[in-house]
């Protein structure tokens, strides 16, 4: 993509299927510097809007409406012919912005994939089929004879995912037989029938196939973009694009707690009070559990401590204080000497004083939400993993 101050542009027709770009390669376009930033901000509004909608727990139908509205209000352009270019340019700018760390890549990948999924859903089945062809999905529809063999199971799956909707599959329903690894989200949600490594994907689930392709392509592309960014672009564009790119990623995602910034140090004597007033709910729960659990069993702690420990540096607790905290909590059960021997290393490790010497940042909400606490575990996101009070 060429950046220039000229207005001249050639429309990017390739790689677009009836208005839905696949972003597989950056088009030869000239972009004005103002547009570079403005388009990106507009797209960011869309992605951020989706992100907010998802975290409020919107249902698929509501997200569909949301996506349609967000696109309409942000991604339009006075010239109809420019709409598609704006779409493509803004995507590639944000790709540059969000390629730079694992966390950013994850967010961008997830939001762009969601956006694509709903845009795909909004398309007619004709366009959907064209897109499937475009992605070169080599799947054949299940034959009638084969369908008869698995009819009952397909019916059970259809029943289990759509409770009240009586849409029993019949011989007219088209199913594709696909290697299960191509449709991880359908497998994870048990929304397909699996037989000997193949998933039976119904026509209305085909978006998952296309989306998986889209996602894996974008995921790889982001890693490559990151390499290019660190090896050449950042340096070359230091006076022009780099400042724009660097400010864009922070302008919309809220404060970044993972970077060590100026923070007040807290001391051990305040931590009980602070835990009550200022810890996030998940940390506070763990903190209280630690104090209780120590009395019950040290073993349980072996696991939790790695999570609460990791967050202590981020809270601003100094290493010596952290050691003192854990020592006080542990020594009730196991004695100070054993503590020094067995656990002090782990804590010093978290403060980057041992082993790999990395200063660990606190786990993000995303990481805690996506963890799966098991039996006897006390960590996890209270809003996701804890049962509601009865």
């Amino acid at each position: 993509m060429e950046i220039a101050r000229s207005q001249r542009r050639t429309p990017a027709v390739a790689d677009v299927v009836l208005g839905l770009p696949l972003y597989r390669s950056a088009p030869e376009l000239q972009v004005r510097l103002e547009d570079f930033e403005l388009f990106a901000i507009d797209r960011l509004r869309v992605l951020k809007g989706i992100s907010d909608g998802l975290s409020r727990g919107k249902k698929p139908d509501e997200v569909e409406t949301l996506v349609r509205d967000l696109l309409k209000s942000n991604m339009s352009h006075p010239q109809a012919s420019e709409v598609i270019n704006k779409d493509i340019i803004s995507h590639f700018v944000l790709r540059l912005v969000y390629c730079r760390t694992e966390e950013l890549r994850k967010w961008f990948l997830s939001m762009e994939t969601t956006l694509f999924r709903y845009r795909f859903r909004l398309e007619s089945s004709e366009v959907q089929r064209a897109l499937m062809a475009e992605f070169d999905l080599p799947y054949k529809a299940v034959s009638n004879a084969e369908f008869e063999n698995v009819k009952e199971k397909l019916g059970q799956v259809a029943d289990s995912i759509g409770p009240k909707k009586k849409s029993m599959p019949n011989a007219d329903t088209i199913f594709y037989k696909v290697p299960f690894e191509e449709v991880p989200e359908l497998v994870a949600g048990r929304r397909v029938f699996l037989l000997k490594g193949y998933a039976y994907v119904a026509m209305n689930q085909v978006s998952s196939l296309v989306v998986t392709r889209f996602r894996s392509h974008l995921s790889k592309a982001l890693v490559l973009t990151n390499r290019k960014w660190t090896s050449t672009i950042r340096e070359r564009e230091a006076d022009r694009l780099t400042p724009i790119v660097e400010s864009l990623s922070t302008s919309y995602l809220g404060p970044d707690y993972s970077q060590p910034r100026e923070f007040a140090e807290i001391s051990l004597k305040d931590i009980d009070q602070l835990a009550k007033s200022s810890f996030p709910l998940c940390m506070r729960h763990l903190f209280e559990k630690v104090k209780v659990v120590v009395i019950q069993s040290v073993l349980l702690l072996l696991h939790h401590k790695s999570i609460i420990k990791k967050n202590f540096p981020g809270v601003g607790l100094k290493l010596d204080d952290a050691l003192a905290f854990w020592k006080a909590e542990f020594s009730r059960k196991i004695g100070a000497e054993r503590f020094d021997k067995e656990y002090a290393y782990g804590i010093r490790h978290n403060y980057g004083k041992e082993g790999k010497r990395t200063d660990y940042t606190p786990y993000s909400c995303q990481k805690i939400i996506s963890s799966t606490p098991g039996v006897g575990d006390h960590h996890g996101c209270p809003f996701r993993h804890f049962r509601s009070a009865r």
Partner: protein, 402 residues
Amino acid sequence: MAREEAENGRDDMQIDGPVPEPVRGHAVTDGFNPDYLKIYYGKLFPHKDIFEWLSYGNDKKHPGCDQSYFGRREFSFTLDNDIYLRYQSFNSVSELKKSINEKCPIKIDIGAVYNVDPVKRHAYAQSDDNGFAPVERELIFDVDITDYDDVRYCCSGADVCLDCWPLMTVAIKVIDVSLRDDFGFNHILWVYSGRRGVHCWVCDGKARRLNDEQRASIANYLYLYKGNENSHKKVSLMAGPMHPFVIRSSKISEKHFKEKLVSSQNLFSNEERFEKILEMIPDESVTSELRGAWQESRRSSNLNEAINVSRWELLKCKLQSRKHKGLRKFVEEIALSYAYPRLDMEVSKHMNHLLKAPFCVHPKTGHVCVPIDPKSCEEFDPTSVPTLSKVLTDHMLVTPKF
């Protein structure tokens, strides 16, 4: 006592070279003994089989094979003094054997195959975070019986006995059949973890090349039991029809629940225990009816093992009766809550997780981590698994205890 003696005598006991001297003056003990471990690694540990397994045909004999394959595999050793040696790698079976014999690790873990030799990872890691990455790894599962403490009354923590081991049998049955019939895998190895659970290695080429997202999707497909300390309901089924996988799994769970666990764990024998089960049924009229019947029967008949089964049958009959439509699914929910496999999800989701190698010796129990045949896993008895001292005695490598 005997174990203490052996440990105390460790310092003055010398084993020289690969030819083991029968240990004199000390009885063979049941527990773990580092000196025996050295003999075991020297004489019995199947280095060659491990090498051949993990080479997957890339053994330099076949034309066109990937000669660097085995050498890019991470091994990790845990030494006696709790030192962890990660990112060990070996280019041949003799290198592997030499290192194991020299270091005599109390635990050997197997990690992923990386894009470059793990020993040289620093040379690649500096450029950016994509320089050193796992490229292949068996799909693995880890089930620990410690995760079942809320549903077993015979043991707790790391202890196991024949009364609670059937929980592991259910885990093997449910996961094994799904991996074969649903996911189409064929090369599946089940291993006793040496103390409190089982490990599963899925070795098909397709399984080894799964990315993390695909691994997570399989783990989630199998993930039905969602209990943690803060959630009440452990298994929550959707109202109405179930996915074929859930139907099959709940059949397996219910069978073992009814035939084994209900009586081996005495799940209905006293009020505290049956109340825990009744708690899962949201219908007050049914629970009070059952409660009444059971308290009645306590007075009239004396307690015996059969009472557990008959109470379960009664509960099942009530829930499945026509009178209480919509309560049916609680039969499955109860059986699944008590018997469905509880997976350590994180182990299966990520390529770079380590897992203990088969045929290691568990340092606490002395048990050898032997494979389990899933076809006859009902017959597997964790309490009679050979111990380090037993295999050495059997092979006449140490003098037996009299």
